[in-house]
Amino acid sequence: MPIFAPVGHIFLTFLALVGRVTVFAGRTIGHMVTPPIYFRLIFKQMREIGYFSLPVVAMTTLFAGMVLALQSYSGFSRFSAESAVATVVVISMTRELGPVLAGLMVAGRVGAAIAAEIGTMRVTEQIDALVTLSTNPFKYLVVPRVVAGLITLPILVLIGDIIGVLGGYLVGVNKLGFNDGSYIRNTFQYLEQLDVISGLVKAAVFGFIITLMGCYHGYHSRGGAQGVGQATTNAVVSSSILILISNYIVTELFFTR
C-alpha cells in the first residue's frame, strides 16, 4: 500500500512534534515553579507583550464592536429584534471576539518577535553562552515570556472587551438611533459573569500558547537567518491554529452541559 506510507509518515512526524512541544511545555511549567524566578524579566516582558500590544488590540476590538453592531442591527431587523443589538455585541465580544481577535493579533506581533529573538540567540550561540555563564535558558528566556503572556493577555482582552462594547455603543447611539440609556441598560441586563470569565480564561490559554510556541520554535531554530525566518513563520502559524482549536475546546468546556 504505497499510498499510505506518506500519510503514515506525516502522521508520525506530527505525533513526534506534539510530543516535543508537550515536553517543552512541561519543562517550562517545571521551571516556573522553582527558583530562581527573574521577576525583573517578567515585568520587562509584560511591557513588551502587554503594553505595546494595546494599540493594535484596541484598534481591532473597536472596529469589531462597531461592525458587530451594524451587522446584527441589519440582520435582526428582518425579524424586528433590533433591541437585541446591545446584548449581542457584549456577549459576542466578551465570549468570542475579544479573546480570539486579541489572541490572533498578539500571535502575529509577539509570537513572531519572540521566535525571532530567541532564534537569533540560538543560531549566534547566545543560548550556549547563557549556559556557560551558569544561567538556565528556560528560566532566563522562556519562563519570563510565558508568565508574561499568561498574565497580560487576560488584561489586554478585558480592555479589548470594554473598547469593543464602546465601539458598538458609538455605532448604536450615533448611527442606528438607539437611546443611549437603554443601550447601556441592554448591554448589562443579560450579561453574565461567566461570559466575561470564560473569555478571560481563553485569553490566558492563548497567552500561554502564543509565548510557548514563540519560545519553542525560536529555541529549536537552526541554520542561520533562514532558519530563524522559518521559526518565525512556524511560531505564528502554529499558535494561530492552536488558538482556534483551543478556543473550541474551552468553549465546549464552559458552555455545554
Binding site: 537569533t120 540567540m121 550561540e125 547566545q126 550556549d128 549556559v131 556557560t132 555563564l133 551558569s134 544561567t135
Partner: protein, 258 residues
C-alpha cells in the same frame, strides 16, 4: 582521585547524522596547564570544546572534569562544573539585549549574585585588561567591530576568574598588536592565576606563546600531542605541514572542489 588530570577526554566520538566529526579524541589537561588545539578548518575543534562543556553530548566516550564524569552528569554536577569555567565563543556570542558592561558582568551578577554597582567596576577593569576603554561600557554589543566583540567576549569569559578557561580562537580577527595583548592576558590567567586552559587557535605564533602543550586534531583524532618546545623537532609530517603552512603535504585539505 585516581585521575590527576583537570580535564580528560577518552575515546570521544561525535557525529552529526552521517557526518563523523570526532572519532576517538584522547586529550588530557593537567591542573594549571594551558593546551592549544590546532587543526584545519572544520575538523571539529569547536565541537570538542562544546562536548566538554556539555553543550553537545558525545555519542561515545568519556569526558571527566576534576575526576567527575560529565557525559552523564547530574544537573548539580554539571552546574558545579560550569560555575568554575569560562568560555569565549568563536563568534563572541554576546547578548545583544544587554550593554557591553552587562555582558561582561553577567556571570558575576546572575551567577554569583553580586550587586550591579560592584560588578560594573569589575567589568570595566576586565574591559581595560582586553584593551577596551570605559567609554564603550554602555554601548550595545551590536555597535562594536568584530574584533572588539571578541575582546568583550574574552573579558566576559574571565570576569569570574574561573579555574578552567576555554578560548575558541581568541586572536582571530584581531590586529597583531592587540593579539599580543590578548596572548599576554591568557598567559596571565594561566601562569599567574593558575587556571587550566584549552585554547583553539590557527595562529602558531599565539600557540607558541600561550600554550604549554599543543594538540593537533585531524580527521576526528588527536594525531600529535606534545610540549611546545617539541613542535619544531617533531617529524610528524602532518604537524610539519600545518606549522609550515604548506599546501604540499599529507594533509587532506579538501581542496579538490576549489
Amino acid at each position: 582521585m585516581s585521575n590527576p588530570a583537570k580535564i580528560s577526554l577518552r575515546n570521544v566520538h561525535k557525529a552529526f547524522g552521517p557526518k563523523k566529526v570526532l572519532q576517538g579524541v584522547n586529550l588530557d589537561v593537567a591542573p594549571g596547564e594551558s593546551v592549544a588545539i590546532i587543526g584545519g578548518s572544520g575538523t571539529g575543534k569547536s565541537v570538542t570544546l562544546k562536548c566538554v562543556l556539555g553543550l553537545l553530548t558525545p555519542d561515545q566516550g568519556s569526558i571527566t572534569v576534576d575526576g567527575i564524569e560529565m557525559t552523564d552528569a547530574s544537573t548539580a554536577d554539571r552546574d558545579a562544573m560550569l560555575a568554575k569555567t569560562g568560555m569565549l565563543f568563536q563568534g563572541a556570542a554576546l547578548f545583544d539585549s544587554l550593554s557591553v558592561w552587562q555582558n561582561v558582568a553577567f556571570g558575576l551578577i546572575e551567577g554569583r549574585g553580586m550587586k550591579p554597582r560592584q560588578a560594573r567596576d569589575i567589568a570595566i577593569a576586565r574591559l581595560e585588561d582586553v584593551g577596551l576603554g570605559s567609554e564603550i561600557a554602555d554601548m550595545s554589543p551590536a555597535s562594536l567591530s568584530g574584533g572588539m566583540q571578541k575582546r568583550v567576549g574574552l573579558a566576559r569569559a574571565i570576569a569570574t576568574e574561573p579555574e578552567i578557561l576555554f578560548f575558541d580562537e581568541p586572536t582571530t580577527g584581531i590586529d597583531p598588536i592587540m593579539g599580543d595583548v590578548i596572548n599576554d592576558l591568557i598567559v596571565k590567567c594561566t601562569r599567574e592565576l593558575g587556571a587550566s586552559a584549552m585554547t583553539i587557535t590557527h595562529d602558531m605564533a599565539s600557540a607558541r606563546k600561550i600554550a604549554d602543550r599543543v594538540a593537533m586534531l585531524y580527521k576526528g583524532e588527536i594525531i600529535w600531542d606534545g610540549p611546545v618546545s617539541e613542535i619544531d623537532q617533531s617529524d610528524n609530517p602532518y604537524l610539519k605541514q600545518f606549522v609550515a603552512g604548506d599546501i604540499e603535504g599529507p594533509l587532506d585539505l579538501d581542496l579538490k572542489h576549489l
